[in-house]
């Protein structure tokens, strides 16, 4: 039973999060000495993967310097990028494998820890079958690591259950992009954004979750572009918006259907494009016929006139771009939401041209690359389908196994947790994932982890999830190993090794390969005999070759010379593909975009008299995902020390809540207490809580487990809740309100 061996408070006292504020040696110590080496690499936080130079001296990262030549961000960085180096040389860093005993975690040798993991997983498989063990990876891992996670699960463990935390990110976009275009990637490079005449940002808090993209948006405005923003909150990007659509959580689909309705009603569709380049449009148009803007407005809370105006602006523009992110995707109809966005833009012919397209804004560090090469439960390297016999044969040959030995599609991340709850999956190997913070219905996740017969975690810090582990293997930070990642715009870039892991920790690929050799036994050990990430990448290139995400022509050297390469890039003389679908040609055999109608459905946690308010969640600019790294960086924590519950003054007044008061938020899962931030920048029927924190500060103890039936993304963005003025949690220190409204 993998419940934590000691109280949360004891574990936090020993393993953190503690706050790092200064480079090694302090501000005036040796780090202020002679010039350090500058290593050109990329930020580890978020899907934009900004170029950055790390200052390195004596095998320590001691600071940063902007990298102005890198074309994507040209030196720009958000506060996470500026302070990221403070995760290095951190006192919380794990430097010995740990095993769980009644009294706590005890350091042990690598040999002992690895042997325990192997024994733990193999005993379960011997008794309950291969699929009684699952592997969960993460989308902040390099593509080499992601590739190894998939190969380890499918070859060395022989389980079909391997998935990753990208399941909480882009999958609702991936499904309709694959369906429509035959490929799961943002079709346009970011350099297209300033070229759009109309820019429609829907469900994307650009300023806080993709801060560098702000510059692209403002340059679009500089060039005379019209900016439309749809969000339940007025996020910072709305300060220059020409039109703000305060959409009710969970109702984007109604709004998008009505926009399509207006386009069709007014005969503004691009007939020539639709006839030459699409299938299924008649059904899409028929579906929209029932969605006049007034009907939609009653559901989505956006004025009918604003819906009409948006539709006209998009349809009449020669070049329009729609950007979407989790606000559109984190719904039990996330796939339909994204499909409706695609339908709208393609109806107006906005695809495959400079400044025209529909683009997803990937959120996780390697959110794009992490899903392309084999840790996604239904995909093989190169974005190949695991159910495609030709794909299976290709990959099985490279892996040196028979195609029949290759497991089929497994369960997705949250389904794996549910299968653990049911007792079907008993063993878990997890890395780069902190479900205790990031999965919905936190109490349920905790119960599941406590049921595991064996649980090994690979991580550099002891995450809240690792508290539940039997074995913890200290892995490596991004800057401690070479590899590639693929940024949000489809650009494959090169992560440099700036330093080696500290004594006692090991590089992730070393750990994965050693586990592969030990778990794979005599038959498979040689399949994990990689001496370096470069060797893994060479095999990944071959495995991806001929697939949709073809990396065949990408080399570390070319990436360095050419500031990254956009896939597909099949051969070493291929220039890469910054913009997909030029000339309207998709990746389907018929070359057409396959549109699909998107019937309206209600969400999985509807409002009622008891729970009459929408709860939605998201990020703040200074924190990243589950906060395993950023909650350990002092200046980033100071910027947002705790989650604040945003609510409108009319809602606050109705509950007698003032700015800075404690508020108890109750959903069908339970109750949590947060401090109020009373602001006019949110819908009066909606509250918002950022999700980066664990335990008593966790927003995800309130969210629900309803998934999109196809993408299996949980519905983080819309839960039903009620509010009551609450008492401060025990031990709370007094703090001044952030807003000036108290």
């Amino acid at each position: 039973m993998a419940h934590p061996p000691r109280s949360d408070a004891d574990l936090i006292a020993e393993f953190g999060p503690h706050l790092a504020y200064e480079p090694p040696g302090g501000w005036h110590g040796p780090s202020a000495g002679p010039p350090p080496a500058l290593v050109k690499t990329h930020c580890c936080f978020c899907g934009q993967q900004c170029g950055i130079q790390l200052k390195v001296r004596d095998n320590k990262v001691i600071g940063f310097e902007p990298w102005e030549e890198f074309p994507f961000n040209r030196g720009m960085l958000c506060p996470k990028g500026v302070r990221r180096y403070l995760q290095d040389n951190h006192r919380d860093r794990l430097t010995a494998p740990l095993v769980r005993e009644a009294s706590g975690f005890r350091p042990t040798t690598w040999d002992d820890a690895l042997a325990r993991t192997v024994r733990g997983l193999q005993e379960i498989q011997a008794a309950h079958g291969k699929d009684a063990v699952a592997v969960l990876g993460g989308a902040s891992l390099t593509s080499e690591k992601s590739y190894l996670v998939g190969k380890l699960a499918r070859v060395a463990l022989g389980t079909r259950h391997v998935d990753y935390n990208g399941r909480l990110c882009m999958v609702s976009a991936g499904v309709p992009y694959k369906h429509t275009f035959g490929v799961d990637r943002s079709p346009n490079p970011w350099s297209d954004i300033p070229k759009a005449q109309v820019l429609f940002i829907i469900g994307a808090n650009i300023a806080e979750c993709a801060p560098i993209t702000t510059d692209y948006v403002w340059r679009c405005k500089d060039a005379g572009g019209t900016l439309i923003v749809a969000d339940p909150r007025a996020t910072p990007i709305t300060r220059k918006a020409d039109l703000f659509l305060p959409v009710r959580p969970g109702t984007d689909l109604a709004m998008l259907l009505a926009m399509l309705h207006v386009v069709v009603r007014d005969g503004l569709e691009n007939r020539a494009f639709l006839e030459a380049h699409t299938t299924g449009w008649a059904e899409v148009a028929a579906e929209a016929a029932a969605w006049d803007p007034v009907r939609a407005a009653r559901i989505c809370g956006v004025p009918p006139e604003a819906i009409e105006r948006t539709a006209h602006l998009i349809a009449k523009a020669e070049r329009a771009i729609l950007l979407h992110a989790r606000g559109l995707e984190h719904h039990s109809k996330g796939v339909e939401n994204c499909q409706a966005a695609i339908n709208l833009m393609l109806t107006c012919g906005h695809i495959g041209r400079e400044g025209a397209g529909v683009m997803m804004v990937t959120g996780q560090g390697n959110g794009q690359g992490g899903r392309e090469h084999g840790q996604k439960c239904d995909q093989l390297p190169g974005q190949r389908s695991i159910s495609d016999p030709a794909a299976r044969a290709h990959v099985a040959k490279i892996w040196g196994i028979a195609p029949e030995e290759l497991p089929g599609a497994g369960l997705t991340a949250l389904e794996i947790v549910e299968a653990i709850h049911r007792g079907e999956i008993r063993g878990l190997l997890l890395l780069c994932f902190n479900p205790m913070v990031s999965l919905p219905d936190g109490a349920y996740v905790r119960e599941a982890l406590d049921k595991l017969a064996h649980f090994t975690v690979i991580d550099f810090f002891l995450s809240e999830t690792a508290h539940h582990a039997d074995v913890v293997l200290p892995g490596s930070l991004q800057e401690e190993e070479e590899g590639v990642v693929c940024s949000a715009e489809g650009r494959v870039i090169h992560i440099q090794r700036a330093v080696t892991p500290p004594d006692g920790a090991r590089a992730d690929t070393d750990i994965l390969c050693e586990l592969g050799r030990r778990l794979g036994g005599e038959r498979h050990a040689a399949k994990f005999a990689f001496a370096s990430p470069r060797e893994v990448f060479d095999e990944l290139r071959r495995a991806s070759a001929g697939g949709v995400a073809d990396y065949g022509g990408i080399t570390y050297e070319r990436i360095d010379r050419e500031f990254g390469l956009f896939w597909p890039c099949p051969t070493e003389d291929h220039p890469g593909t910054p913009r997909l679908f030029e000339g309207g040609r998709t990746y389907h055999a018929d070359g057409k975009a396959h549109l699909e109608a998107t019937p309206w459905r209600e969400g999985g946690d509807p409002l009622d008299a008891e729970f009459p308010i929408h709860l939605t969640t998201g990020r703040v600019v200074s924190q990243y995902l589950s906060g395993t790294q950023t909650r350990r960086i002092g200046p980033l924590v100071d910027q947002a020390p705790e989650p604040r519950l945003e609510l409108h003054p009319t809602l606050a007044d109705a509950h007698g809540i003032a700015d800075g008061d404690w508020v108890e938020v109750t959903t069908r899962r339970g109750a949590q207490t947060f401090r109020a931030l009373v602001v006019r920048t949110i819908r009066p029927d909606t509250v918002f809580v950022p999700y980066h924190w664990p335990g008593a500060r966790s927003a995800n103890r309130l969210t629900h487990r309803t998934m999109d039936p196809r993408s299996k993304i949980p519905e983080f963005k819309s839960s039903a809740c009620r509010l009551a003025k609450g008492a401060p949690p025990p031990g709370t220190r007094r703090q001044l309100p952030i807003a000036g409204a108290s």
């Binding site: 504020y21 720009m76 506060p79 300023a207 806080e208 500089d222 300060r239 200074s622």
Partner: protein, 192 residues
């Protein structure tokens, strides 16, 4: 040589505080930011404004300094007070029309943005303007900024009787020539 200027455009600011964080990383005042970002009124909106030193041509802070502790570099950068001279009287803090200098009690001196003179003197851009994700803070030839953006860069400000010209430019709505801040400047009087 193309002259680079510091240009502030508050309407671009997204409040991310990357500038503050980067400022604290500067080698001349390690760990302490010299600039700040404020919400205009968080209860009512999300608008934020970054404040850096405007580096006046004739700096008021220096004029009112009884200890002659505030100096300009040859290229017009107004520096923090000279530690040996500064008597921590806060005259500069009170007199600055832009509200920039801060008395740092622990350091017993006035400290403020020095436009990263250690970087700019070596041809590097200031830390804040380099990292700023929205380019609300930018360090580029001002003509280039004017061509690309719709607003107008100005560097002349009127505070009642006082006209202040600054090294740093501020983007203002198209057609504005100079910014008059005092209400008195907007009052119509029928002078003889």
């Amino acid at each position: 040589m193309i002259a680079y200027q510091f240009v502030i455009d508050p309407s671009r600011c997204i409040g991310c505080r990357s500038c503050e964080n980067a400022c604290a990383e500067c080698d001349t005042h390690r760990g302490v930011p010299m600039i700040h970002v404020d919400f205009v009124d968080r209860a009512r909106g999300i608008e934020t404004v970054p404040t850096i030193c405007m580096h006046c041509t004739d700096p008021t802070c220096a004029e009112v300094c009884p200890a002659d502790a505030i100096k300009q570099t040859e290229d017009g950068v107004v520096m923090s007070s000279l530690k040996p001279r500064c008597i921590a009287c806060s005259n500069c803090v009170l007199a600055c029309p832009f509200g920039v200098p801060k008395m740092v009690v622990r350091a017993e001196q006035m400290m403020k943005c020095d436009m990263c003179f250690d970087r700019t003197s070596e041809g590097l851009r200031p830390m804040c303007a380099t990292v700023c994700p929205s380019q609300a803070l930018s360090y580029r030839p001002v003509g280039e900024v004017e061509r690309e953006r719709r607003d107008t860069p100005i560097n002349e400000f009127v505070f009642g009787q006082q006209v202040v010209t600054t090294k740093v430019f501020l983007m203002v709505p198209e057609g504005t020539e100079r910014v008059a801040i005092d209400v008195a400047d907007h009052v119509w009087e029928d002078r003889p």
